[in-house]
Amino acid sequence: MGLGIDLNSLIFGYLAFAMVVSSVLAVFSKNPVHTVLLVLVMVVHQAFLLLTLGSEFLMAVQLIVYAGAVLVLFLFVVYLINLRKETKHSIFVKRFCLCSLVFLLFLGFMGVNLYLIYGAKKFEQAVLPFNPLEKDNLWWIAHYLFNYYLLPFEIIGVILLVAVLGAVFLVRKVKTTEEA
């Protein structure tokens, strides 16, 4: 590139910054609908981060599943909350100092751990067992999912089926003898 700036790191920087900012705002926002919207902003940026990593399939799935389905259902739930009462709560809990101390402790712990694991080593280019440019992204996902990880995939399918059946069982109408 003749632009003098590394375009890739510029885009990554923007995406990472936007994700962090929207997540922090989502935590601090009082209005639950605004929180869901900020999480939506975060999810969309995450999808484009996946796109810059060259996995367009995961981007589309991220948009369909998280942005298109999960967050819409969140909005549904939020509609059932009493908003007027909810927005009057203080965003800070009573033992604020103690909580922030615990938070800082955890942060330090995490930093030390990360340093111990990654700090000493220099990052190396990951070596893949195949050439990713040979076929497109979708092909590789299907190839590995259905050839090497078929059993876990099917187990997940069965678990989801159980969840669906459970939901249907919970909402079914029980006919009592008086009604009939």
Partner: protein, 326 residues
């Protein structure tokens, strides 16, 4: 470097031209709708502005642009401002992924079909958020209805499109059309008749058009989710609805009716067949609006969950079976 800039230039030029052409289509779609419905109801329709009322959409646009932009006092302002734009962008972006003729598509990505599905699921946000932010009972009910409707019918639509993907073996819209041209029937309409049926009905429901226009049912909800909007913001919702129709028709043409291919080649007009098929589908949309009364809400849900989704699943199963045998 030279290549990059010229590529970028052609990409931008193509985008701008496509945007202008589709916006004009959307504007004249409203005119066509009024004229056709008028003819079906033995009225004249718009005939004052310009010859045969041809300038009516432009007059409408000018009127809406110059109208006052009213913001009610108790609305959630940022959400209220942003909702119409979410609606329009999500409805309109899909057209960039549709191949208009051989080798002409603005954005040729491998997961084109999935991306269009993602956009159509995101367009639910515009409706839900405008309904909530308006702080009005009519708008809120409209928003709730719309979200339930869009989520339900999206499943049926995805199932119908999955059978097409299974037959074509690709998620790229251009490849789907090429696979159709090489298939024995030339179009997927014949082997995928059930899928086409499911897709068209779900597409009408996705666009909130009659007979599934419950989110904006005038007799019950005044105008539904955009009842508090005025001026240009109201017009954006209107544009989004008609843009949605255009994109859904283009998607149906690409996935079921053979895209740009036709019985014979028309010289110098490579998009001839594509446009003819899209116009036929748009006429179909308008036709059913003039013909059918509105569904009741429980009927709508029954149709979606008890008829279309099982039909879509059966179709997917049959397609997989046929693919396995042949």
């Amino acid at each position: 470097m030279e290549d990059l800039w010229s590529n970028l230039f052609w990409f931008l030029a193509g985008t701008v031209i496509l945007l202008i052409v589709s916006l004009l289509h959307v504007a004249y779609l409203t005119y066509a709708e009024r004229k056709i419905i008028a003819r079906m109801q033995q009225r004249l329709g718009p005939n004052r502005v310009g010859p045969r009322g041809l300038l009516q959409p432009i007059a409408d646009m000018l009127k809406l642009l110059t109208k006052e932009d009213i913001i009610p006092a108790q609305v959630d302002k940022p959400v209220f401002y942003i909702a119409p734009f979410i609606s329009l962008v999500c409805a309109g972006t899909g057209i960039a992924l549709v191949p208009l003729w051989e080798n002409f598509v603005i954005s040729n990505i491998n997961v084109g079909l999935l991306f269009i599905l993602a956009l159509s699921s995101l367009s639910a946000y515009g409706v839900i958020l405008s309904g909530w932010a308006s702080n009005s009972r009519y708008a809120f009910l409209g928003g709730l209805r719309a979200s339930a409707q869009v989520i339900s019918y999206e499943i049926a639509m995805s199932l119908a499109l999955l059978s097409v993907v299974l037959m074509a073996g690709s998620l790229n819209l251009g490849d789907i059309v090429r696979a159709q041209i090489n298939s024995p029937f030339k179009v997927y309409l014949i082997p995928q008749l059930i899928g086409f049926f499911v897709f068209i009905i779900s597409a009408v429901a996705e666009c909130n058009r009659t007979p599934f226009d419950l989110p904006e049912a005038e007799t019950e909800l005044v105008a539904g989710y955009f009842v508090e909007y005025s001026g240009m913001r109201f017009a954006l919702f209107y544009l989004a609805e008609y843009f949605g129709m255009l994109v859904m028709s283009a998607l149906a043409v690409t996935c079921f009716l053979g895209g740009w291919a036709g019985p014979f080649e028309v010289p110098y007009v490579p998009f001839f067949w594509f446009v003819v098929k899209v116009y036929a589908l748009l006429f179909f949309y308008i036709w059913i609006r003039a013909t059918l009364p509105r569904y009741r809400y429980d009927q709508l849900m029954d149709l979606g969950w008890k008829v279309l989704i099982p039909l879509g699943l059966i179709n997917l199963f049959l397609t997989a079976l046929i693919k396995l045998i042949f």
